[in-house]
Symmetry: C2
Subunit: 215 residues, 2 copies
């Protein structure tokens, strides 16, 4: 019964996600679903991305969080439109939430929407929200065993961002082995090493975004 | 419908959890449900705990993981009984999984079972597995905003372990504000600062365990 219900929920979600994707495509808006563990650095990466790109690209953010508006407040300071979604304890965003949120954005005037998902390396990977690409942030402090331990999210993501490289030398994270595991799971995954402290990799990430816009 | 099914699942889980708890109590086995984000350091903490306590306390480990046996292999090296549960992508352990796993342990000869949950700061908090206490590991590299952002898991946990203090100075984690938020969410929570690199706090954590055993 549990499995049957889960299937129905995922099918219904898939339907709305396709509608969202077509809707965003009509509006020529590129949508990134940004995922990762709590504390992997998603919001910090987002803030630096806004700083670097907001004068070139018309962008907005949809912020997913369990209860608070802490992340949305950080984004708002950058004078970029931000829509807060509170899942009230729910462990992921779904397509219906994004559909409602998108109604509050002026998509005709946007090139890019970044959706910051709930901090969770498991559940968000199962729920298509109608994005063009998923991107996953893995902080090197989480350990190089994570790609093999949580394969789905890395399989689903076009980009893997290995974040917090500034403190790499204080950890036992093996970059080479992480890269190997990532490409085993997902041969075409783009891997970008970043640090939101010293700015490493931010240009590469922003270039990647610019090359993928729809107009 | 989704909410109704979720309620039924949680009610059914609660029933089995109570059975587990009574069963463990009859056997005088203390059970800790160890939770935290991916990479917070649960397995490292567990390994040091085994090293420190295995000659004094008869203990076993139940390892929850999505697919791999990577953590169980790390535990096995310490010559402590370990049961692997693979959730096949599932984001948390539930009481039925623990019931099945416990059948493979000789509980008459044990004082302590530590259950390492799936790396996830959201879903495991909702599923009682029949433990005596929940404990949550938060690595300081995750950021001091996490208690307020993921309150349920801290509300449910008797102990919060603030891990990786050895690299505190390379982060902007504010220990005082994290402690304040933790006690706002859960006034009686025991907070222990640990480092699995330099051993800080390990004695305090092991003493706490010893003081809570049932025999």
């Amino acid at each position: 019964m549990k499995i049957e219900v889960m299937k129905n929920i995922l099918n219904e979600n898939e339907k709305i996600a396709e509608e969202n994707r077509n809707f965003f495509k009509d509006k020529k808006v590129f949508v990134i679903n940004l995922m990762g563990s709590p504390g992997s650095g998603k919001t910090s990466l987002l803030e630096l991305t806004l700083k670097k790109l907001k004068n070139e690209i018309k962008m907005a953010v949809i912020e997913g969080d369990l209860f608070t508006a802490k992340d949305a407040e950080r984004i708002e300071r950058h004078n970029v439109p931000v829509i807060q979604i509170n899942t009230a304890g729910g462990c992921h965003l779904d397509a219906a939430m994004i559909k409602r949120a998108a109604q509050n954005l002026n998509l005709d005037e946007l090139d890019l929407v970044i959706v910051e998902n709930v901090g969770n390396l498991v559940c968000p990977a199962e729920f298509d929200v109608g994005e063009n690409v998923k991107a996953v942030v893995l902080s090197i402090t989480e350990g190089d065993d994570k790609p093999l331990k949580y394969p789905l999210i890395f399989k689903e993501s076009a980009v893997a961002i290995l974040n917090k490289t500034d403190i790499l030398k204080f950890t036992n994270f093996n970059l080479e082995s992480a890269r190997e595991d990532l490409t085993t799971i997902h041969p075409n995954i783009k891997i970008i090493e970043t640090s939101c402290t010293n700015g490493e990799g931010l240009n590469e990430w922003c270039e990647w975004i610019k090359n993928n816009l729809m107009r």
